[in-house]
Symmetry: C2
Subunit: 199 residues, 2 copies
């Protein structure tokens, strides 16, 4: 039982993920959502830009929450990230290589056209990066180093999603998961009595 407003946002998310921003029409959203067309501009007076921005933020919120939940399952951030990406790979396969959120595709399209949408995408990306970073910091990594590692994780993750989509295989994501696990080491781990390091 979802409201008309929420139903519009929901269906917009899936259409965006499949087709992107310019290719997704308002008529299509109306038709797929079953919402009355008259309601569209009632709930979203700023039109398409507003609908898409809200859809990005909405799906981003879910995405960040899910990421945090997954990361919390392992105390070791590297293992947690590995598991997260492997799980994502499975999900991408299930969904036939639409990752289940409109972020990647909308971000790249809207960057040159709509500042409002672009801003929404940046916000979500920043939250995702922060989630990775906090996880690493909580395990004893220095903040600046965690920042760099989180950036790389995010960048390669987005690239992996892109390649998985184009090749219609989750292999790039799985390969990425393994590589990050091997290379995402802490160069300044917390000091312990037994295993001290002297750089």
């Amino acid at each position: 039982m979802t409201s008309t407003h929420d139903q519009i946002i929901l269906v917009t998310c899936t259409l965006l993920e499949k087709q992107g921003y310019p290719a997704t029409g308002l008529n299509e959203i109306v038709k797929e959502s079953g919402a009355p067309k008259g309601s569209l501009y009632y709930y979203f007076p700023d039109g398409k830009e507003q609908i898409v921005s809200e859809a990005v933020l909405f799906s981003g919120k879910i995405l960040v929450e899910r990421l945090q939940t997954e990361l919390a399952k392992h105390s070791d951030p590297i293992q947690a990230i590995y598991e997260y990406i492997m799980r994502l790979a499975g999900k991408v396969e299930e969904m036939q290589f639409a990752a289940g959120n409109p972020l990647t595709i909308v971000a790249i399209e809207a960057a040159g056209s709509s500042e409002r949408i672009s801003q929404a995408c940046r916000e979500v990306y920043s939250q995702l990066q922060a989630a990775f970073q906090e996880k690493m910091v909580s395990a004893g990594m220095a903040v600046s180093e965690a920042d760099e590692r989180a950036r790389l994780t995010l960048a390669s993750l987005e690239g992996g999603i892109l390649l998985s989509r184009v090749y219609r295989t989750a292999d790039p994501l799985r390969a990425l998961a393994g590589h990050l696990r091997d290379t995402l080491q802490n160069s300044n781990p917390p000091q312990t009595e037994s295993a001290e390091r002297h750089p």
Copy 2:
């Protein structure tokens, strides 16, 4: 002095990079290229799909050649990749965060709609990956390992381009370059009599 055909392809490349596939109109291509509209369907009887496919392949060819040229400048593949990405970062800044080729954005959009365009993108990606891989193999890395490393390089590179575009900063690309240089090591380096190094 370029032919009408080539001029159409050329301007299509830049429009695609800026706006993507659905957002780029045939009328716009005609207008920007200065080509006569009548010529469009004379040179490209299959319409938009054909124009875009050819544009992707054309820009891909240039991209691969440029990559190979850059990689050839350093004997060490890791250093070569580092320099390449750093140079790309500069270029992305100059071009105001349009990377100068339509691949990243078109690939992700067309994945779900046009198989013909999707195929063109896959072809270019495979060539790019092969260029990275061959460079690593030529420096003594095992083929299977070079394959994995090349995949990761490509994936994170695409993600870096995406983030640079969204944030309107080349920082993600530069951070990526540094990280890859630190982590893209050969786990099975070629054996030499002494510890030789070629500066």
